[in-house]
Structure formats: structure tokens, C-alpha cells
């Protein structure tokens, strides 16, 4: 194995992360190459020096700040979870929808049904309306009795002839 090829495996060798075959090849090369052996030792020394740097601890306020920022995050909810979280809104919206549909599909000519069919029930209802409250008074209203009798269809035909 050449020195150049060894370079890519050098740290893996120091870390003990090489495969068995690679490890054997490396040891064979190092046994025959003093320059690479020196380099391996120096890399090990550098690695030991890096171990000497102490760790720092996050400040006491760190967790508090993270939690405060998380608490300030807007709550993400999809459409269904929003409905689930507000069942009263869902019921109200459903009722409003039903009412809208019912009003929209109600028969438009329902007011004319009674007059055209002569339904007794409808007449009774009409008689209950305030404008017809004095029906008897209107029926016996004197000036109306002085009007000529209505001409029947048969009589008008005879007059024409």
C-alpha cells in the first residue's frame, strides 16, 4: 500500500474504525514506512491535545429561553383538528347549513295553492286574517246591495241574439 493511499485510512486506523483487512494492510505498511509511523504518532498526539479542551455548560437561562420561544410558537392545526377542537362551532355550522338548504328549497308558489284549489282549510285560515275580520259587515254593506244583479252567461247570450 502506498503512503498516499494510507492517508485516507489514517484517521480510521487511529479511531479503530477500519475493517479487519484494512487494519492488517495498514499495520503492514507502517512496519515498513517510518515516515508514516511518525505521522500516525503525531496525529495521535494532536487527537490527545484536542481531548484537553473542556466542555462548557449551557447557561441556566438556556432552557428557559428555548421553552419560552416554543410557547410563543403559533399552534399548527389542520382543518379537521380545528373542527374537533370546537364541536359547538361544528354543530352551529351544520344547523346554519341545514337552515340555508331548507329556505332555498322551499316551494316558491305555496301562497297561491289555497286560492287556486279552494282548499277549505286554507279558506278558514284566510278568514282568520285581520282584513277579513268583518266579512259579515262587508257582505251586508248597503251600497253594494244597490248594484244591479250580476248577469249570468246564459242571459247575456240571449240578449245578444
Amino acid at each position: 500500500m502506498s503512503c498516499t493511499r494510507m492517508e485516507s485510512r489514517l484517521l480510521g486506523y487511529i479511531d479503530g474504525r477500519l475493517k479487519e483487512k484494512e487494519q492488517r494492510e495498514m499495520e503492514k505498511h507502517l512496519a515498513a514506512c517510518p515516515a508514516c509511523t511518525v505521522r500516525v504518532n503525531e496525529f495521535r498526539s494532536v487527537s490527545s491535545l484536542l481531548d484537553e479542551l473542556p466542555q462548557i455548560e449551557p447557561s441556566a437561562a438556556f432552557d428557559v429561553r428555548v421553552r419560552a420561544r416554543i410557547a410563543a410558537e403559533p399552534v399548527k392545526q389542520n382543518w379537521w383538528s380545528w373542527l374537533g377542537a370546537a364541536p359547538r362551532v361544528l354543530v352551529a355550522a351544520s344547523m346554519l347549513l341545514l337552515a340555508t338548504v331548507w329556505v332555498g328549497h322551499r316551494p316558491a308558489d305555496s301562497n297561491n295553492v289555497a286560492s287556486s284549489s279552494g282548499d277549505e282549510t286554507q279558506i278558514m285560515q284566510d278568514q282568520d286574517l285581520p282584513v277579513l275580520e268583518n266579512y259579515d259587515v262587508l257582505a251586508n254593506f248597503e251600497p253594494l246591495t244597490e248594484l244591479p244583479e250580476p248577469v249570468s252567461a246564459d242571459e247575456s247570450t240571449e240578449q245578444d241574439m
Binding site: 505521522r39 503525531e42 491535545l49 484537553e52 438556556f62 429561553r65
Partner: protein
């Protein structure tokens, strides 16, 4: 048995805030340390670490455990750190023209240093601190991507596959990156290595 990171994250996705608190507790120290060593400023490192956790939290609904949680976490952290270093590079260069770069002590400004109490031998402590500064300075001088590679490899115990995904490069490119970084460190720290070899 402790829940894995992926299990915790899936629980967070399901709405369990307590699982997020566990992830925060598990990774706040490694993240802050990684970011501190990247940006060399404690306050900025904590701000960036907060941002990492917020981004993880925001992405919880779309989380799919396709990769290791640490790969995802440190990928976010590395991207934020690299952007921050690039954004502040100009500012740092301006400062260095006027005054030597003052690197925060690992002990931190917030915690007062009671040298006499903690270290009976002040001279020994000062020598040790000077050597640590030398190591920090050597790491600092590495190009950003090499620095990130060394920090992830050395301090986070991540395998090459993970680090290459974090840095968006191939494994062979990562090995080459790490080799060059260690070569630079070997040269920079040669006096210290020689000193240790003597003692």
C-alpha cells in the same frame, strides 16, 4: 429503558411536549459546545443552539425517521454555524485589524474565575490555559468546513457516514477533508506536541 431519539421525536410529532424536553436535555450541551467551538462566542452559540431546537420543533409535523436524529440535528446546527461564521467573518476581520482576537475563555465570562481556590498552583493553571488557547487558536484557523469536520469527528463521536451527510459530501471527500485538517493541526500544534514528548 430510555427511549431512542427517533422514538422521542415521533412522540413529539404526536404532540408529546415532554419528549421534546427530553431531547432538549439530551442534546443541549453537545450542541452548545459544537456551536461554541465553531463561532467562538458563548452568547452567539447559545442563540444558534436555540434556533436549532426551534427548527426541530417547527419541523416535528413533517418528521420522518429516514436518517439518524443526530445527523439531522447536527446538519441544522452546522448549516447555521457556517452561515453565522460567514456572516461575521468581515466583522471579525475588522476587529482583528485593531486588536488581537480575544477568544472567550472556556470558563466563560459569566462564571467568575476563582483561580486561587480551584488551582493551588496558579502558574501551572496559567500554563495549562495558555496551551488550551493554543489548541483553540489552531482549531480556529482551520477553514470552516474542515473545522466542522474535526469537531463532529472528535467531539460528537459520529461515524464517517453521518458526518459526510451532515456536511453534504462523500465519505472519501470527508476523509480527505479530515486528513488535511489534522495535517494543519499537526503543524500548528507541533511545538506543543514536542513539549509533551519531552515531559
Amino acid at each position: 429503558m430510555a427511549r431512542t431519539d427517533v422514538q422521542l421525536m415521533l412522540d413529539v410529532k404526536a404532540g408529546d411536549e415532554q419528549s421534546f424536553a427530553l431531547l432538549l436535555h439530551r442534546y443541549r450541551t453537545p450542541l452548545v459546545n459544537f456551536l461554541y467551538r465553531m463561532v467562538r462566542n458563548r452568547e452567539q452559540a447559545e442563540d444558534l443552539a436555540q434556533e436549532v431546537f426551534i427548527r426541530v420543533y417547527r419541523a416535528r409535523a413533517d418528521y420522518v425517521p429516514s436518517a439518524k436524529f443526530t445527523t439531522w440535528l447536527f446538519r441544522i446546527a452546522t448549516n447555521l454555524a457556517l452561515n453565522s461564521v460567514r456572516d461575521t467573518r468581515h466583522q471579525r476581520m475588522e476587529v482583528s485589524l485593531d486588536a488581537p482576537v480575544k477568544v472567550d475563555s472556556e470558563e466563560g465570562d459569566e462564571r467568575p474565575l476563582d483561580v486561587a481556590e480551584k488551582n493551588p498552583n496558579i502558574e501551572e493553571h496559567l500554563v495549562q490555559e495558555a496551551q488550551r488557547d493554543m489548541i483553540r487558536h489552531a482549531i480556529d484557523k482551520l477553514p470552516e468546513k474542515q473545522r466542522a469536520a474535526v469537531l463532529l469527528h472528535k467531539y460528537q463521536d459520529l461515524d464517517y457516514g453521518e458526518i459526510s451527510k451532515i456536511l453534504s459530501c462523500s465519505e472519501s471527500a470527508l476523509k480527505s477533508l479530515l486528513f488535511r485538517a489534522y495535517e494543519t493541526l499537526r503543524v500548528e500544534l507541533a511545538p506543543l506536541v514536542a513539549l509533551r514528548a519531552k515531559s
